[in-house]
């Protein structure tokens, strides 16, 4: 008997959004190569069209629920939810990059192409139900990000960030691959459902230390991608060195995709080992929040402060993984991911708008007196800071509420207390931003450039979504809840 290629219409349909995005990306690559320099500004709009068509294709798949490609790939509401978040974030990043790359003196064609391929990898990660496809999806996501970080190759810090990201990323991928090899050694399969089946039928042999090694290596591998302490060392340098729209992209989309894969692996394949990994993740979550927030207090660069704040937010989201067994645990992670995505992209877009001839707009001192220089931007910034702190009426408040509630339900009261203390600490530096904007005199009195329409649209979408999620969180939470129904079955 020969293993036959099983490829039918259903396989094709399941992968349709990815195929569309891939074809667009390849066509744009050819266009970039053939076109004249003056026509290259179009590529930004072409990639928006590609993301939009992919988004529509993703929406048409709602309601489908089956695995394809011999169990490598699944199309379910969880995957669709994550893909929609990733595509929206990608569209906002592309809009925010308008003229940014050419202004700095670089050709922008490959920039958009690399973003598209990175998004392709993220979409595969969101749907992967086999450790092999998780791994290749992860690499397809990460490798364009290494290049994008170093895109400003005449800036030392961009190159430095890219090199650090690349070396550490390659190392963490090796760690993850090593972990996968041990899973195969113990269970004889890499399929997530079959791994769960193995543990369900054979029972969990707690005397088998290989399982602990697997958990250690997986936490290190995924922990690197989500920048959890103590695997976060690369994060501030990379986020500071990368072009600002890419920092916004990486701190939201890469995190969302990594959390999706992290969640799916742990919720689908390893729920039987929950007792063994939950305490480790709880300690990791507490460490991540605390170190992220405390170091953020001392930063003088706004971009670097946001990098540490995004580390802290990864800590909050990890709480949801600890509380996986509670009915709303996973849903609270998804909810927090969307609330965080929009609130976290916003400040980066404002950094882009604050660029002037003599300043990069990245330092906290650039925010001095923003309330007088640009009242609208300052007001919007304040909303983002409210959301990141977790204050109503913004998306951050219900996000934190659902996460903390899930932690209490799963008897991790100490973790909730740590998270609440951390929220208080984070309020210090988020409010510091507000203080600088309204209570200090402007240091830099240069006139701000008139913002271009795509960048402004991106900013308004971010602020609109942040408020919308805060005003009617139930709608979004219901959507998140419905999307996880079938994750663990």
């Amino acid at each position: 008997m020969i293993e036959k290629l099983q490829f039918g219409m259903s396989d094709f349909v399941a992968l349709l959004p990815e195929i569309i995005l891939c074809v667009f990306a390849l066509l744009i690559t050819v266009y970039d190569f053939m076109s004249k320099r003056t026509n290259k500004a179009l590529i930004s709009y072409m990639s928006q069209v590609a993301f939009f068509v992919t988004l529509i294709a993703t929406f048409t798949l709602i309601g489908n629920n089956y695995t394809a490609y011999s169990g490598m790939f699944v199309i379910d509401t969880f995957a669709i939810f994550i893909k929609v978040v990733i595509l929206l974030v990608a569209m906002i990043s592309v809009a925010a990059s308008h003229r940014f790359i050419t202004d700095e003196g670089y050709e922008s064609g490959e920039y958009y192409i690399l973003i598209m391929f990175s998004v392709l990898g993220m979409m595969i990660m969101a749907s992967a139900t086999d450790l092999i496809s998780v791994f290749v999806g992860l690499e397809l996501m990460a490798i364009p990000c290494y290049f994008l970080t170093g895109f400003f190759k005449k800036q030392n810090r961009s190159i430095e960030g890219a090199l650090k990201y690349f070396l550490m990323g390659a190392f963490s991928s090796a760690v993850l691959a090593y972990g996968i090899s041990f899973v195969y050694g113990v269970t004889g399969t890499t399929n997530l459902h079959k791994i769960a089946e193995f543990f369900a039928t054979q029972g969990v042999d707690i005397n088998n230390p290989a399982l602990y090694l697997v958990l250690t290596l997986f936490v290190a591998g995924f922990g690197f991608k989500i920048a959890a302490v103590p695997f976060h060392m690369w994060c501030p340098d990379v986020y500071e060195g990368a072009p600002t729209p890419i920092t916004a992209f990486m701190s939201t989309a890469v995190k969302a995709a990594s959390f999706a894969a992290f969640l799916r692996v742990y919720a689908t394949a390893l729920p039987a080992l929950h007792i063994n990994w939950a305490p480790t993740l709880a300690v990791l979550a507490a460490l991540t929040m605390t170190i992220g927030n405390i170091v953020a207090l001392t930063q003088s660069s706004f971009k670097r402060m946001l990098a540490y704040s995004s580390i802290a937010h990864a800590g909050y989201i990890l709480i949801g993984l600890v509380a996986l067994k509670v009915s709303d645990g996973v849903a609270s992670v998804l909810f927090y991911l969307i609330a965080y995505a929009f609130a976290n992209m916003g400040p980066f877009i404002i950094i882009i708008l604050l660029r002037t001839k003599n300043s990069s707009g990245e330092m906290l001192t650039d925010l001095h007196g923003l309330g007088k220089r640009a009242p609208l931007l300052a007001g919007i910034m304040l909303i983002f800071m409210f959301s990141l702190t977790g204050l109503p009426p913004t998306g951050g408040f219900p996000g934190k509420y659902y996460l903390f509630y899930a932690a209490v339900q799963s008897n991790y009261v100490w973790l909730t207390v740590v998270a609440c203390i951390n929220t208080a600490i984070s309020a210090f530096y988020y409010f510091k931003v507000g203080m600088y904007m309204y209570m200090h005199e402007p240091r830099n009195t240069e006139e701000l450039e008139k913002p271009s329409t795509p960048v402004l649209t991106a900013l308004y979408i971010c602020v609109g979504m942040t408020l919308l999620i805060g005003i009617m969180p139930h709608r979004f939470f219901e959507a998140a809840k419905q999307s996880i129904m079938l994750l663990t079955s």
Partner: protein, 171 residues
Amino acid sequence: MTFVFYLLGFVAIVSSICVVSFKNPIHSALGLVAALFSTAGIYILLNAEFIAVLEVIIYAGAIMVLFLFVLMCLNIRELKMMPQFNILRPIAIVVGAFLLVYIVIIIIQSNFGNFTGVYNEAKIIELGGNAKALGQVLYSRFLLPFEIISILLLVAMIGAITLMKEGLRGK
């Protein structure tokens, strides 16, 4: 057989240590060749001749030649240790040694399942060799990852070109 395995394993470990500890990059590259050859030998012991051949042709052959070309073009004689790595060195050695002991202890004490997949020896002979069996798995069960890897290679190429070419305003 066991003796050959241990010999190859020993050579692989020693030459890998050489790769990271030699100061002259050419010597490191040659150490890598030795490591790759001994790994290929281990693949042969596992009856995976096709992968062994690939390892030798692609890694020990093509990629190493590229490495050596680049090293010779750049004419690097000796690499100096960067100061920021020197500070972390004692900590790195302690953490690395701890991890090594941890992993070795765990591997010795663990029990791994004794699995026989679909592709046992008889099956591979029936199919007509390793290469055919591998091809069949790649184009059926692992079709999706296989295709993704092809895109991955394209992306790596686009990225490498992006890093090398000049910007809008020339130099």
